[in-house]
């Protein structure tokens, strides 16, 4: 092992691993050492080996998954290859991407106390530890709830509490914010930082949305093809990413890069400091983006609040009027008014539990309103959060038989896969196949449906796959299909949508051009919007154009 083992909580030495029946290594000669109290962000594209590395660090690889392994892993002084995950549980906590699969108990209190119970701790010690970790994570009100009534975000916090309750030396998190809204995601990252600082717990956080967490990190490690491609400070990581793998660079870094500014900043605060240093005379907040030179980049939405309020030209893709939906005795949607036009690309946003999924279900007709009307007469296809749930047959052609099926496959670029087993397709291809399944035969004249809704389609996706998805939406919209996507991913929304609808506690609280809704706020705002704080500049390209501008900024403009 390396000479840093003694001071480190995790030491990985030349680790190679291959999953059973796989034809290539998931990890290839990884060497990595993490010191006590470090906060490390683990970056990399999908399939780069991040999750496998975390699973090796907690003993699931190879003890639970099997496969071929070589090299060494030492966690908290314990040899992870000799000891299984149960024995490592005292020194390492693990939180995975899917909160539903990491809950094993009936109530939140039982779940959080389970690690201590299995260790034989007394009821009194368990109760105190559960109470303290619940207070630390601000979830005491969840303790008596049954776990099957918790939302994804709540489950994620309960899972984190269960991972932390035994006060491990290191906690590993595999995309823990993927199901959280921007508010909860930011809170979770800063909570981890607080635990890291106050308890001295080392944190290894695997994440695609680096702009959320990089500023909290002491160090960034990037993986590529099962190997460590970069290991260093977050600022150096961004420089490396811009040169070697731009998809890993944060929007703030791309903003600076496009504007020709250096050094690239880690986080909003340093970006603002950098801007002040680089252009001390610039007061960006005084530039109204909706006027003048930036206006062409800030496209007004074709729908929006005014359209929703009343006037209804014919052939809307979706018309929702005074919609009330009750679930479990609670009004989940309250008087929603919304109109979406053909070809419009709409991001539906809001906190966990705001009613986004319910609104999409109502549009698809699988939720019956208690009051109001929903009209998607040109056809509505809804792709729910788990595309794999749609794949129930053995061959792609069996899922989509006949000419209508072939047309649907062709529309998503999967005509070549008709003889394939759906489960052999990649994650992105399975999602496209599921999209074809929900769309098949819904449109008039054998075309696509008038409205396609997707519920959190970017969960676990890297930036490259998001870009592909965004392009797919563009093609559908160009064919006249309206796209409504419920998403927590503000950066993705800024890239694909022209209009944003914000829900809060079942009510529509904002509806307007995407650049307008995603700027000027703090949580529901892109990183570029938070850096520049200029109405309408939400993407690196828009921001860079602003920064490159030689137009003098004057008082009162």
């Amino acid at each position: 092992m390396s000479d840093r083992v003694d001071s480190g909580v995790l030491a990985i030495e030349d680790l190679s691993y291959r999953y059973p029946n796989a034809n290539h290594d998931a990890l290839g000669g990884v060497t990595l050492s993490i010191d006590a109290g470090e906060f490390v962000v683990l970056a990399g594209r999908s399939g780069s080996g991040k999750s496998t590395l975390l699973r090796a660090a907690c003993g699931l690889v190879p003890h639970f998954h099997g496969g071929e392994v070589s090299g060494g892993v030492e966690v908290g002084g314990l040899d992870a290859r000799e000891r299984g995950p149960a024995e490592l549980a005292g020194v390492v906590g693990f939180v995975s991407q899917e909160p539903e699969t990491q809950i094993a108990s009936t109530t939140a209190r039982a779940e959080i106390g389970l690690p201590l119970e299995l260790r034989g701790e007394t009821a009194a010690r368990r109760a105190r530890a559960v109470e303290e970790v619940a207070l630390a994570l601000a979830i005491p009100d969840l303790l008596e709830r049954t776990t099957d009534t918790l939302s994804g975000g709540e489950l994620q916090r309960v899972a984190l509490a269960a991972a932390l309750v035994a006060r491990p030396a290191v906690v590993l998190l595999d995309e823990p914010t993927s199901q959280l809204d921007p508010v909860a995601g930011d809170e979770l990252v800063w909570l981890l930082r607080r635990i890291n600082e106050q308890w001295g717990t080392a944190v290894i956080l695997c994440e695609h949305r680096l702009e959320r967490c990089l500023s909290a990190a002491d160090r960034a490690v990037a993986m590529r093809d099962g190997t460590i491609a970069f290991d260093g400070a977050p600022g150096r990581f961004l420089e490396w990413a811009l040169a070697a793998d731009p998809a890993l660079a944060t929007p703030g870094a791309r903003l600076f890069d496009l504007a020709g500014l250096r050094p690239v900043p880690v986080g909003v605060r340093r970006a603002r400091e950098g801007l002040r240093r680089g252009r001390p005379d610039t007061d960006l907040a005084r530039i109204p983006a909706s006027e003048g030179w930036l206006a062409p980049m800030v496209q007004p939405a074709r729908g929006g609040a005014k359209r929703s309020a009343g006037i209804r030209p014919p052939a809307h893709a979706l018309t929702v009027g005074d919609l009330w939906v009750e679930v479990g005795g609670r009004d989940v949607l309250r008087g929603i008014e919304l109109v979406v036009d053909p070809g419009e690309r709409v991001a539906l946003m809001g906190r966990n539990g705001a009613g986004k999924s319910t609104l999409l279900r109502a549009a698809a007709g699988i939720v019956v309103p208690v009051r109001g009307r929903v009209d998607a007469s040109r056809g509505c296809a809804l792709l729910s959060q788990s595309p794999d749930d749609f794949l129930v047959h053995e061959r792609v052609a069996e899922e989509l038989p006949g000419e209508a099926g072939a047309r649907a496959l062709d529309a998503v670029g999967l005509a070549w896969a008709s003889d394939a087993d759906p489960r052999d397709l990649s994650g992105g291809e399975r999602q496209r196949l599921a999209l074809a399944i929900v769309m098949a035969g819904r449109g008039a004249d054998e075309g696509p449906p008038g409205l396609v809704c997707l519920d959190e389609p970017t969960r676990g996706m890297d930036r490259g796959r998001k870009q592909e998805l965004s392009e797919r939406f563009g093609e559908l919209a160009a064919a006249g299909t309206a796209i409504v996507v419920a998403t927590h991913d503000v950066e993705f929304a800024a890239g694909f949508a022209e209009r944003a609808v914000l829900l809060g506690d079942g009510e529509l609280i904002a509806d307007g051009p995407i650049a307008e809704v995603l700027s000027g706020g703090w949580y529901f705002a892109t990183e570029v919007a938070r850096i520049l704080d200029v109405d309408g500049a939400i993407t690196p390209e828009q921001g860079a154009a602003l920064l490159r501008s030689e137009r003098p900024v004057t008082e009162g403009t």
């Binding site: 149960a86 792709l383 099926g405």
Partner: protein, 288 residues
């Protein structure tokens, strides 16, 4: 959407009872269902389970299990009638079935299949009441000493129903969202997917249990869960049901033989046994 079969914490007597007490109580009814083939006795056992489920607040679970049991039972009756040509009372002679050739359908084979179906129904209902009323956490505690090294076994025993119930709700919604141009997701395809999906998810939950320290040996013993004051009622109820069954068997009650002609005991002892089962089963819920 919450499944009717998922455990719901309630302030009921069966929910408060310890796992062994609940197992004795519901297990005794399952034992009676396997010990007797008389439709009247099976009917009594079914009524007993239904009464227990309703008294425990698991009416929805009973209703769901009855629907599943009837569907499964109907399949069994049809299959049994097609594959068995025993019995003297031929209802359909020489019915030509593809692959199997000409078959006779007899009254006796239908009656035999119906008894199997009735037994399946009773067992399904008992399982549903167990699933809805017995806390999986307590089952996990009970299973752990027996399967300390296998989190997957423990998961399958204690968590499979809640996991499968959640998956089924999602799969049904996905099936409802399929476009008209896509092949419908039939029951068989959904069932196949559900099994695969549930096993995958059970593996994930098993991994979570491992990470929580499930396989840890040694350690201080976990303090015993305090027994419920209702435990004796359910143990007594279960024992009484067992005694009823044993006495019935010794007395020769509940006779049934489908072949060569249906012979069914409808004597006083059989009727008394059939009536005693639900009355005994409701005893633990009575305020005495």
């Amino acid at each position: 959407m919450r499944s009717a079969l998922a455990y719901t914490p309630r302030r009921g007597r069966l929910q408060a009872a310890s796992v062994p007490a609940a197992a004795v109580y519901l297990g005794s009814l399952v034992l009676v269902a396997f010990a007797f083939s008389n439709p009247l006795v099976l009917g009594g056992a079914g009524a007993a389970v239904a009464a227990a489920g309703c008294a425990a607040g698991a009416r929805a679970a009973v209703a769901v299990s009855v629907r599943w049991g009837i569907w499964l039972g109907a399949t069994i009756v049809v299959v049994n009638a097609l594959v068995t040509d025993r019995g003297d009372t031929v209802l359909v002679r020489g019915y030509d079935v593809p692959v199997l050739g000409p078959l006779d359908v007899t009254l006796e084979s239908l009656a035999s299949g119906a008894v199997l179906a009735e037994r399946i129904l009773v067992v399904t209902m008992a399982f549903a009441v167990w699933s809805a009323c017995v806390d999986p956490d307590h089952v996990l505690r009970l299973v752990r000493p027996l399967a300390r090294r296998s989190a997957l076994t423990a998961t399958l025993v204690s968590r499979l129903v809640p996991v499968a119930a959640g998956d089924l709700a999602r799969l049904r919604e996905a099936a409802a969202l399929r476009g008209p141009g896509a092949e419908a997701a039939g029951r068989a395809a959904l069932a196949r997917r559900l099994v695969a999906c549930s096993l995958d998810r059970a593996m994930d939950v098993a991994a979570t249990l491992e990470l929580r320290g499930y396989a840890l040996g040694g350690g201080a013993p976990v303090e015993r869960r305090r027994r419920s004051r209702h435990d004796w009622r359910f143990v007594a109820g279960g024992v009484a049901i067992g005694v009823c069954g044993a006495v019935g068997l010794l007395a020769g009650a509940g006779g049934f033989d489908p072949y060569p002609e249906v012979a069914l005991d409808v004597d006083a002892a059989t009727l008394a046994l059939a009536a005693a089962l639900p009355l005994t089963a409701i005893f633990p819920f009575a305020d005495v």
